[in-house]
């Protein structure tokens, strides 16, 4: 172990430390929102940061995605063939732009990912109504760059997995027992910045458009 480390610890351990009363540390639920209210809040928050939210169900989401792809003039869509949504999309491939899978490490197709992909579609682990956020745990089927590099990101959110707050989502999904993944994400809208004269601009480095499909 380094000398710096032992010096730092020596100093930190040399001093008496105050006892801290931890009353009030734990999460207290303050909202009693039913599912309809959660959907309403989530939608409002997302739309406030210029995300598109489409209310669909398991029978209508596919045609909505196809329609949006046409309207946006997308020529291709990056989507995993192994997820529930991906399987359905690949079966309807004729009504969609050309579908691409993320089936090899990024090093093998970085150029195409950066300069050839119009849009991606991913699943989500859930959503948060209070802040209008999507929860993503990227994995080998749906890697990290899918929700980051393409200019348009479609995300499917199962409304059964829409929680009131972040704290409730972490508890309900028992993140600690599952063990944290390489990368976990909350995404609350398309990329944005107000660094130029406090004027809000969208599409800085991440996706310019975020399209949320509720099922």
């Amino acid at each position: 172990m380094s000398e710096a480390r032992s010096h730092i610890f020596q100093r930190l351990r040399a001093v008496p430390r105050p006892e801290v009363d931890t009353t009030g540390r734990d999460y207290i639920p303050i909202y009693q929102w039913d599912k309809a209210e959660r959907i309403k809040r989530f939608t409002e928050r997302m739309q406030a940061v210029r995300a598109e939210v489409h209310h669909c169900d398991r029978s209508s989401w596919l045609s909505k995605v196809a329609e949006l792809c046409r309207v946006k003039g997308l020529t291709n869509l990056l989507v995993s063939p192994t997820t529930e949504w991906g399987q359905a999309l690949y079966q309807q491939a004729e009504s969609l732009p050309s579908l691409t899978g993320y089936d090899q490490p990024i090093e093998a197709w970085k150029q195409e990912m950066f300069y050839g992909i119009d849009a991606s579609l991913t699943s989500t682990l859930g959503g948060i109504a209070e802040t209008g956020s999507l929860i993503l745990w990227p994995n080998s089927d749906e890697p990290r760059m899918m929700s980051l590099v393409p200019p348009v990101h479609f995300a499917i959110l199962d409304t059964e997995q829409l929680y009131t707050t972040f704290a409730e989502a972490v508890q309900a999904q028992d993140w600690l027992a599952q063990g944290m993944p390489t990368n976990a994400l909350l995404i609350s809208g398309p990329s944005k910045s107000a660094d130029i004269a406090q004027v809000l601009a969208y599409g800085v480095h991440g996706p310019k458009e975020l399209v949320v499909i509720l099922v």
Binding site: D26, S188, G189, S191, V204
Partner: protein, 469 residues
């Protein structure tokens, strides 16, 4: 002779347009924050909660740092320790050299500013390119951040348009913010694509799980930590929290206090490098934990509260001094109230001790602080440390002591506790009151000289028939 700080303040106060710009920006930020907390009781409860979480973490700091190190190491993240910014810079350099990297792309990190990392790497022939839009803009102009979360807040749209036109002459001149933003996106995309190393800061480090959390809006933080094959994170040793359940309350209060957003676009939680079978993400992740005076601050039970800071910048946005003099006048990495208490403790009262005088002690900073750091009390304490001679943990304590001032106050306190001397003195003062000059140095530059009454208070009360005692 005027100090450098005074000269910078004078210059800043003379720039009417910049002052108007800061006023407008801070007013907006204050309004945005207020709108995020419509229920005061809820805000106070959330502040209590955030304070307890941070205070608890600090009370267990060595144990939590050990736990963090163990968990990160187990997750495959390399942990490095640095006592000084020089050591931290060397660690980063060695990682760069190991990978033969000639440049890096950076997400926003105030600790890297503290390290002077960009200049250091430049001196070694390595380029450090900022990718946060605000940082990118000020780097183009060779400046430093004037605000910890909005680094280019001192620049107007027109100035940025001119700067872009000067640096990228191939792109047509525009003042359209969307087009300027798009320009930066296109330039930096190619850089992200090629960068051999990405560097970021850390907002919270979770000891329980070995997770590094990053808060941002643009996606440059995610880009810098996802695309290059090597990711280096730098942070101060105080940023650790105990449990993952501590994160949601802190994430709730940070962006609301900072810019008045309910949440930032991205909240990025990193727990390991790319695992077997995963198709992207860096193969190698490093964390550099920097002390740089923090363990000294830690040794004082009152000053320790300084380390609770979650760097939201609310104190800066609400400071009547900051809004008038702007961020660069401070001459420090961290400006505003948090800089006023942090910088003199880090680099010593003889270097930045003057900053604690530049406060009206209005209390706004303490009132908005999401973790309830008693900033005005700490400012007072540092003023005291500057002029007193007792043994102290504060670096350069006593360095602001002036012999004349010390003798004057000593004489005053002696006279004030000896009634006969006090009466003699005040009587004498009423006799010579005409001799007091109209000009009393800096005091009368913006005020009229105080006039001494023709009768002492004792004499006046006696004349009114008020009984003694």
């Amino acid at each position: 002779m005027k100090t450098e700080f005074r000269i910078q303040v004078d210059q800043a106060l003379g720039k009417q347009d910049v002052r108007a710009h800061f006023r407008k920006a801070m007013d907006t930020l204050m309004t945005n924050r207020r709108n995020q907390f419509p229920d005061n009781a809820e805000l106070q409860r959330l502040r209590d909660q955030a304070q307890v979480i941070r205070a608890n973490a600090l009370s267990k700091l060595p144990e939590l740092l050990e736990q963090l190190e163990a968990n990160l190491t187990q997750n495959g993240i390399h942990v490095h320790w640095a006592e000084t910014t020089d050591e931290a810079n060397d660690i980063v350099l060695k990682i760069m050299q190991k990978h033969n990297a000639t440049w890096m792309i950076k997400g926003k990190s105030m600790v890297s500013e503290e390290m002077g990392l960009n200049h250091f790497l430049e001196s070694k022939g390595i380029e450090a390119l900022e990718s946060d839009l605000g940082e990118f803009i000020i780097q183009l102009d060779g400046e430093t951040p004037s605000h910890i979360i909005m680094p280019a807040i001192h620049k107007s749209k027109e100035q940025i348009a001119k700067l872009f036109n000067e640096k990228f002459p191939d792109i047509p001149y525009t003042e359209d913010v969307d087009t300027l933003t798009r320009t930066a996106r296109d330039i930096l995309r190619e850089k992200f694509y090629n960068a051999p190393v990405g560097l970021s800061g850390v907002n919270f480090a979770v000891a329980e799980t070995g997770t590094l959390c990053l808060v941002e809006n643009e996606g440059n933080g995610r880009m810098s930590t996802t695309i290059p094959p090597v990711h280096i994170a730098v942070t101060g040793i105080e940023k650790v929290v105990e449990k993952f359940s501590d994160i949601p309350p802190l994430l709730s209060i940070l962006p609301r206090s900072a810019t008045g957003q309910p949440i930032t676009t991205y909240f990025n939680m990193i727990s390991s490098p790319r695992k077997q079978g995963e198709k992207d993400g860096p193969e190698e992740v490093h964390l550099v934990l920097l002390d740089n005076g923090r363990s000294r601050i830690y040794s004082d039970p009152e000053l320790l509260a300084t380390l609770r800071c979650i760097r939201c910048g609310a104190c800066i946005n609400h400071c009547p001094v900051y809004v008038r003099i702007g961020g660069h006048s401070y001459g420090t990495v961290y400006p505003g109230p948090i800089g006023t208490i942090l910088e003199p403790q880090k680099s010593g009262l003889s270097v930045h001790g003057e900053l604690v005088q530049a406060s009206s002690l209005c209390g706004a900073c303490g009132e908005v602080c999401p973790v309830r750091i008693p900033i005005p009390n700490i400012i007072n304490r540092l003023r005291y440390e500057g002029v007193h001679q007792e043994e102290s943990s504060v670096l350069d304590a006593g360095s602001k002591r002036k012999p004349m001032e010390a003798i004057t106050w000593k004489a005053w306190s002696w006279a004030a506790t000896h009634p006969s001397m006090y009466n003699l003195g005040s009587n004498l003062a009423t006799q010579v009151r005409k001799l007091v000059p109209n000009h009393l140095g800096a005091w009368t530059s913006v005020r009229t000289a105080p006039a001494i009454a023709d009768k002492t208070l004792h004499q006046q009360l006696k004349a009114l028939g008020v009984d003694h005692e």
